[in-house]
Amino acid sequence: MNLIEIYIQEVTRRLPEKNREDIALELQSTIEDMLPDDYREDDVKKVLEKLGSPVILARGYRDRPMYLIGPRYFDVYVTLLKMILPIAAVISLISVIAEYFMDYNGQETVINVALDIMGYGIWQMISVGIQTFFWLTLVFAVIERTDKENDNQPLTASRKKWTPDDLKNIAYIPKKKAISKLEVFGNLMWTAIWATIYFYADHLVGIYRGGGNRFEFISPAVNQEVLLQYWPIVLIVICLEIVLAIYKLIKSQWTRGMAIFNAVFQLISSIVFIEILINPEIITQYFITYMTDLLEITANQLKSWIIGGAIFFFMVSAAFNVMDGFRKSRIR
């Protein structure tokens, strides 16, 4: 006797309030229909066994979807997730690095700071990733439940049924011409690294001495005051590089326009780089003395080695970069 009531309660508590009473009443009468006139607990058990698990029965009565994101939105959801998660991770890492250097007091050595950043950066990337995942999923779950036209057909850009004409809106990207997202993030990462080195050169570039388990920073190699005279033009180069990376991300393949942009950018950055390097006061006197003693060469030799070598490598890599851009943009 009691079993029937408990069974009905187990079903109805999983249902929306407004249907509960009616379904309870119907279940009650159905179960009584199935029982013989003079029944015992065994009979009740047999009948309830036929009706099956209350969870499954309740599931049948519910018309809300039993999933978070259905076939209509799943594809868009996964695409967005793949796009946003790496961006969020990179931004959080960059902001961790930036934060560290804002508070940098010059006491810690670079290696220790780098290790700190790695640990904290990974932790921050994971937590930002979880946050992003949660909010994106929540938004899609809400859309899934509020979209009245949901017919479980995958969503297209025009919000209509798929036709072969939709293919015309998609650019065909040959593999050799394609720019992977990894490459773009590599570019951005590189920008972040060299910009950090530029603005904190007096803490980063210089002479280190290993002592015990810590590296000790003895003296900077460059004159930060002289270096920072160039900051407006360096900022422009940073902005151009970011614009180029975003342009690559959007187009995801090499075009003629992009190759030209790349060439102009490489030219500007080479000029700026060389202009800074040939400034006679850029290298600190202490560093020159230290190195000439160490290598037993004259100060002029050292300068021409460092500056000449740096300029040579920069020019070669810039030239290669420009040519590679033009070559890829020509591939059909």
């Binding site: 009443l25 119907e26 279940l27 009468s29 229909d33 009706l51 099956g52 009565y61 018309d63």
Partner: protein, 117 residues
């Protein structure tokens, strides 16, 4: 029966269940009488599927329902609506056509099997 065969069979039957239920609702039926009718015709039905199905059909306005409280036990009766009858007749035609097609298909297959034996 293997698990796969089980789930394929269930899938095969799921679509026909609506048709079977609609066919029996030309006269008003309550839940359990419908079960007995279907089982009388040899159609075994999972009851945890049937009762929710009846409600869904009602929501889709294919059947209408009313409570009969004149007897000792109140019962909810379901009957085909006008719209439901229309849909049922079309669905029936579809079913007969497709089962004919499938039968032809399977018959050819059957003959080939016989040749091998």
């Amino acid at each position: 029966m293997s698990n796969l065969l089980n789930s394929l069979t269930t899938e095969l039957r799921r679509g026909t269940l609506t048709l079977a239920v609609l066919s029996q609702l030309r006269t008003p039926q309550y839940g359990y009488s419908l079960v007995q009718l279907l089982e009388g015709s040899g159609i075994s039905i999972d009851q945890s599927t049937l009762y929710p199905l009846l409600r869904r059909l009602e929501k889709q306005e294919l059947v209408s329902s009313n409570w009969d409280t004149s007897e000792s036990r109140p019962r909810k009766y379901y009957v085909l609506s006008e719209y439901g009858l229309e849909i049922f007749l079309q669905l029936k035609k579809e079913w007969i056509n497709s089962s004919k097609e499938l039968y032809t298909l399977l018959k050819v297959e059957g003959e080939e099997e016989n040749e091998f034996n």
